[in-house]
Amino acid sequence: MIKYILRRFKLKILVVDDSKVARKYILRSIASIGIEAEFREAENGQEALSAYKEERADVVFLDLTMPIMDGYEALREIIAYDKDAQVIVVSADVQSEAKLRVLKDGAKNMYPKPISDEKMRTIFAEDIV
């Protein structure tokens, strides 16, 4: 029910990736499953942290391998600022060690790139509250 009510409002979603096409891919996938959202984008962890502090996002999609500040550090900083932040890590790194590390640091879940529409549905149905 809570999830249903949340879907009635526009979610604030922050998409963090140094690749424009990777951000576009996530935006497209979210839109294609019918989620209404206000999107903001950041190209690295530092920009993401500033954007999050400026205005909290309901969901953050975060890449790991980025210049200036990588996703691991950005995740720690965002969670330190807001322990309830909902961060979904999206990375081409498929090592279980990487997933364990981000889950330990407070990410809701981690998925391999690229995220299919089906997987995006799962994220909004199961990972995000």
């Binding site: 690749s19 424009k20 096409v21 391998t65 990487a98």
Partner: protein
């Protein structure tokens, strides 16, 4: 130190690389929304001194190429070089941005993202199969002629794991050349890990 791998080590390395490339192909196919067919990859170990001659066999000396490099470190470290022709990169960008024309920035962005997915999937799958961990750094990209690819920095590596494959995506050919550069210490670690994997398999 010899960089030579014995037949068993090469066999298991080829098998792991096949699995990695299969996963990479599936990921790229999903990204491009097109069914991908991967040709059987050529996996070889060569000295970095022989890399220029190896590259010269397939690449045109007159053509420009997008050359992207990505460093990784950890239980074994090195650098991956991914080479894609300008024509392939243009097709790639048009597909990824779903636009009839694209800017140089968009082409560069598409190549970098493709490289990130290709190299991270291959190396992290290799690491997972060998039960070790590696960390990745952000890739860098440049346009250059094939004779400019092997520079002093590349020659500072001793050994190159060559992964050559052609991935067809319906109407468009994306031909990628992948080279994993490693140093003596890393190659010895890789050999040890492959031996350990062989022992586990045949125990």
């Amino acid at each position: 130190m010899s960089f030579a791998f014995n037949e068993d080590q090469l066999d298991i390395l080829r098998e792991v690389m096949n699995i990695s490339l299969g996963e990479t192909t599936a990921n790229i196919a999903q990204l491009l929304g097109a069914f991908g067919t991967m040709h059987i990859p050529e996996v070889d170990i060569i000295s970095s001194k022989d890399l220029q001659a190896f590259i010269g066999r397939d690449l045109s000396p007159k053509e420009d190429y997008h050359v992207t490099k990505q460093l990784f470190s950890g239980h074994f470290g090195g650098e991956v070089i991914f080479i894609i022709s300008k024509e392939s990169s243009l097709n790639l960008a048009k597909n990824m941005f779903q636009a009839p024309t694209t800017t140089e920035d968009e082409i560069n962005d598409s190549v970098m993202e493709l490289t990130n997915i290709v190299t991270s999937t291959i190396v992290s799958r290799l690491a997972a199969e060998l039960d070790v961990t590696v960390q990745f750094f952000a890739p860098t990209s440049a346009i250059m002629k094939c004779v400019e690819i092997v520079d002093e920095e590349v020659l500072s590596y001793s050994t190159v794991i060559v992964l050559k494959t052609i991935v067809d995506f319906q109407d468009e050919n994306i031909v990628g050349n992948i080279f994993v550069l490693t140093k003596d210490e890393a190659i010895q670690k890789l050999k040890d890990l492959l031996d350990k994997k062989l022992e586990e398999l045949f125990a």
